[in-house]
Assembly symmetry: C2
Homo-oligomer: 261 residues x 2
Amino acid sequence: AAVRHRYPNCNVVGIGRNRERLSFATDKKLLTSWSDSICSSAIPEKSLGIVCLPVDQIAAAVRQLLDCGCELVTDAGSVKASVYSDLGDVSALPFVGSHPIAGSEHSGFEHADSNLFEGRKCVVTTMPGSPPKERSDNVDRVVAFWESIGSIVHLMSPEEHDRVLALTSHLPHVLAAVASGCVGVEMLPFTGTGYRDTTRIAAGSASLWASILQGNSKHCIDAIRTAEALLKKFREALEAGDSILVEELWEISAQRRRMLQ
Amino acid sequence: AAVRHRYPNCNVVGIGRNRERLSFATDKKLLTSWSDSICSSAIPEKSLGIVCLPVDQIAAAVRQLLDCGCELVTDAGSVKASVYSDLGDVSALPFVGSHPIAGSEHSGFEHADSNLFEGRKCVVTTMPGSPPKERSDNVDRVVAFWESIGSIVHLMSPEEHDRVLALTSHLPHVLAAVASGCVGVEMLPFTGTGYRDTTRIAAGSASLWASILQGNSKHCIDAIRTAEALLKKFREALEAGDSILVEELWEISAQRRRMLQ
């Protein structure tokens, strides 16, 4: 939607499994053409391929797109190191990883929003092992693509991306799932807007999130341990009746959060 | 604001510490008069007192309002059993506890919203030890008050309220604080809308929240233990590389959350 809105003459080819939905998205002018398989005839010359699949399926699709003639491929996965390692010797491949930090718990073209990326961060990853600021021509082109639809791009190594996102995205998702999972159905009428907001992202797809958490398991495990330690601090302060410590713990988190506003 | 909007002829007396802000709120037509102390001269005959203070200060204010001539007093505190126990022999007092499940992380009359209670739940508590459905005249009057400004009222015992709200409200606040506290300042640029929503309620007042958590410490400790156990399940599933279990854990929480929509 973002490309179609800004560049009406640009071909946007949709590749997926569900012919009916692809056809419907084309009727809605979100695609210029579609195919239900990755094949050379579907892919125009000098195409940029953008893989939007669960992270454990990205590498295979990248290889197929390159085999079928894409000039350069990127993705939109929430983890990066495992995609590069799944690809094997990536230095020979025209692939550059991306992670647009934008989206919602909804999926499907019905929720397409041409302004989704406007002013939002997008991480573009440098080749694993290369200096963090080294920008190949391919990296430059992927950066230019995201900037052209309104994103603010940051370069990171895949490993650095995964460490940071484990804390800024994957952990909050797990904590949202925990907040949701602790409330029995019979208690739902007594939830307020706080519960609603805190748990919103827990409504996302289970297969998608299992794949993200598993794909970044090393850093997610570390992040969960960090959260367990802080949660234990809150509990022990309450057990000790130490209101001052409870208030201090709260205030550290509150100050952090207020910086966002 | 809700009363002033619906019942323009009803007196709404504001009692607080800050004369300047009370005067300003009166200029803004949110109050009909104000006082900087709880005293008989400030309180019209047959008044309903509504104590909106941190939970550890509620009982003292209830006693003062009754001493100064309020006919009946309620409150808006997020915990209930500790308020009743602070009051001592409550059966002799015209006090009925309330907890309107509505609000935001903001405080101050600048954020007053006359529709805040419209369609929102409000718990009104029955006398401790009395049958849960027993409604005294005083309970009926407090129920009628909240309904008159749009609330949907549920009756609960103070103990039941605290057990349920520990899971539906207090725990999500602690988890939001944990999600916020785990992210370093340098990582804030790489947070998205998920982090923003999940941590919104962590920006609330530290003294207010320390007082709520401490005032409901028994049930909050139990709730935090429940969350720690679920968080550990997620971590151990990731450590074992058990994607199916990760997906199952996620799906239980996701289904729960989707019931809200």
